[in-house]
């Protein structure tokens, strides 16, 4: 009798929490919508304007197919090299940030905080700074993705390291293996396939990022896109978007396919 009473109270408390949650979300939503300065005029002008823009994108300017493809190739290359730089740097950091390898807690906490800090910024912010110091071009994009992706890859990879099976480590320890041996034969084989999986996943995200890095001058198809947007050449915008959609979709599927094979 008593237990059913407490569970009922728990239930009421829980549904109470949901109601408070709904109310807070609703209040935030109303406040936010007020801030958007939406009025009837903007909507009544905006919808036909968007319709006109979309209509102008079709048919895409096929004369720009070649230059769009060249830009997209550069975008893929930026994503490949940027992701790889991040993958290389994220490996030591992720072992440092993992809590189960016997490193001092201060080291893993510091590692986690650094990764979180890097993850805070969108890659476009990094893009701006690398364009300002390295000059416009794909190398700035590579650096932006390379540094920015360390945050997420390090975080995901350190979680993978934390989830490994301690059995092999203990077995090697029992046979008198030293630290590097334990690392090489018990840790690395367990984490490597999943590391490759997270790297491929980040590559998928970086490909999308690389397609807009050109908006701040960091190379790739975004440069063509930026110019077309500035001069309102919607048929060119349509062409570049078509290339982005097709290529990103194909590479997404290939990457997901490889990930499934590996893990």
């Amino acid at each position: 009798m008593k237990t059913s009473n407490t569970s009922l109270r728990d239930y009421e408390k829980k549904s109470m929490k949901w109601y408070v949650g709904y109310f807070v979300v609703l209040a935030l939503f109303i406040w936010s919508m007020i801030g958007m300065n939406i009025n009837l005029e903007r909507i009544s002008d905006g919808i036909p304007a968007m319709g006109r823009i979309l209509a102008l994108m079709v048919p895409p300017d096929t004369a720009r197919l070649e230059s769009s493809v060249i830009g997209m190739i550069e975008t893929i290359q930026i994503a490949v090299i940027g992701t790889t730089i991040a993958a290389i740097f994220s490996i030591p950091v992720s072992f440092m940030a993992a809590r189960n390898l016997g490193l001092p807690t201060a080291v893993s906490t510091a590692g986690k905080q650094i990764l979180n800090a890097i993850r805070t910024f969108p890659s476009l912010v990094f893009g701006i700074f690398f364009v300002a110091s390295y000059g416009p071009g794909p190398l700035a994009g590579v650096m932006a993705l390379g540094i920015n992706s360390i945050g997420m890859l390090g975080k995901l990879n350190s979680e993978i390291v934390e989830a490994i099976d301690p059995g092999p480590i203990e077995a090697l320890e029992a046979t008198g293996a030293n630290y590097p041996e334990m690392f090489l034969y018990a840790v690395i084989p367990q984490v490597l396939p999943e590391f490759i999986g997270t790297t491929l996943y980040r590559f998928e995200l970086n490909l999308r990022q690389a397609s807009v890095l050109g908006l701040v001058g960091a190379g790739g198809i975004g440069v063509t896109l930026m110019q077309a947007l500035q001069f309102r050449r919607w048929a060119i915008v349509g062409m570049t978007m078509l290339v982005i959609i097709v290529v990103v979709t194909i590479l997404d599927y290939s990457s997901a396919f490889i990930r499934k094979k590996i893990i």
Partner: protein, 267 residues
């Protein structure tokens, strides 16, 4: 015995095949790397050689212009509003899309593949690109940013949640169907109770993505604190830019923390 001997031969053949496959994969990866490195003009000398100018740039940003922080309050609030409104509208739009993209709820094959295709198509485009186009259509400001986040978060949320939805326990769905319940009853009594906590958790995750994205939407004129970042950088006011970045950092960290607390409460 004869059985194991019969198994040995193909296994040795498979081993050789596996090695060849591995070798081919390594060669392919090497080719991709060389091709990419040449394409982007990758050179360690340039990367290391230009590092001082990168650090000089960072050095120009120190100390941040603390006085500028007061003028950032309103843009920051606008950034919040953009992300909140974009997330909520995107989430509402995602609900029908989630149901259409789950093969155990939507058993109409052509409709299922069409919805999935639409969702994947919407997801290939970065929110910045949506924003850049929308600014041309609906004008400069946060409204364009909100719509951009709405489209993107609809697609991302639909992908994540529909994949979880396809993995739910089909028992309750079949039970309702067996009792003669219709689609709506099935969604209300069998699907919603199972998927709502996951859906809420993914919505918070999408909100985190949107907060980050909303801080740079201003670079294409779609409102928020990114406008301040853009003008500070264009006028070479690096201490102001540093203040913008610092403020963004603090806010994103706080929101992430809050979102994590809420998510642990949910799941």
């Amino acid at each position: 015995m004869s059985n194991s001997a019969a198994e040995e031969k193909p296994s040795r053949f498979m081993l050789v095949m596996g090695k060849i496959k591995g070798l081919l994969a390594i060669i392919l990866v090497a080719i991709i790397y060389i091709w990419s490195a040449r394409g982007v003009g990758f050179s360690l000398i340039e990367i290391i050689g230009e590092l001082p100018s990168f650090f000089n740039l960072l050095w120009d940003m120190v100390p941040p212009n603390w006085a500028y922080s007061i003028r950032l309050i309103n843009p920051l609030l606008e950034t919040f509003q953009t992300a909140i409104a974009g997330t909520i509208l995107g989430t509402l739009l995602a609900i029908p899309l989630i149901l259409l993209c789950a093969s155990n709820v939507n058993r109409n094959n052509p409709l299922y593949f069409a919805s999935k295709g639409f969702m994947n198509l919407m997801r290939t485009i970065d929110p910045m690109l949506y924003a850049a186009i929308l600014v041309a259509g609906v004008g400069l400001g946060a409204f364009a940013g909100m719509l951009a986040l709405m489209f993107f978060s609809m697609a991302v949320n639909a992908k994540l949640t529909s994949e979880s939805l396809e993995a739910i326990d089909d028992g309750p769905l079949e039970a309702i169907e067996a009792c003669g319940g219709n689609k709506l009853e099935m969604i209300k009594y069998a699907v919603a109770p199972q998927i709502l906590p996951t859906f809420a958790s993914y919505t918070l995750y999408v909100f985190e993505i949107n907060i980050r994205a909303s801080t740079v939407l201003g670079l294409v004129g779609a409102g928020g604190i990114g406008v301040n970042l853009d003008t500070s950088l264009n006028l070479f006011r690096y201490p102001n830019a540093a203040m913008v970045i610092l403020a963004t950092f603090v806010v994103v960290v706080l929101i992430d923390h809050l979102s994590n607390v809420l998510r642990e409460e949910l799941v």
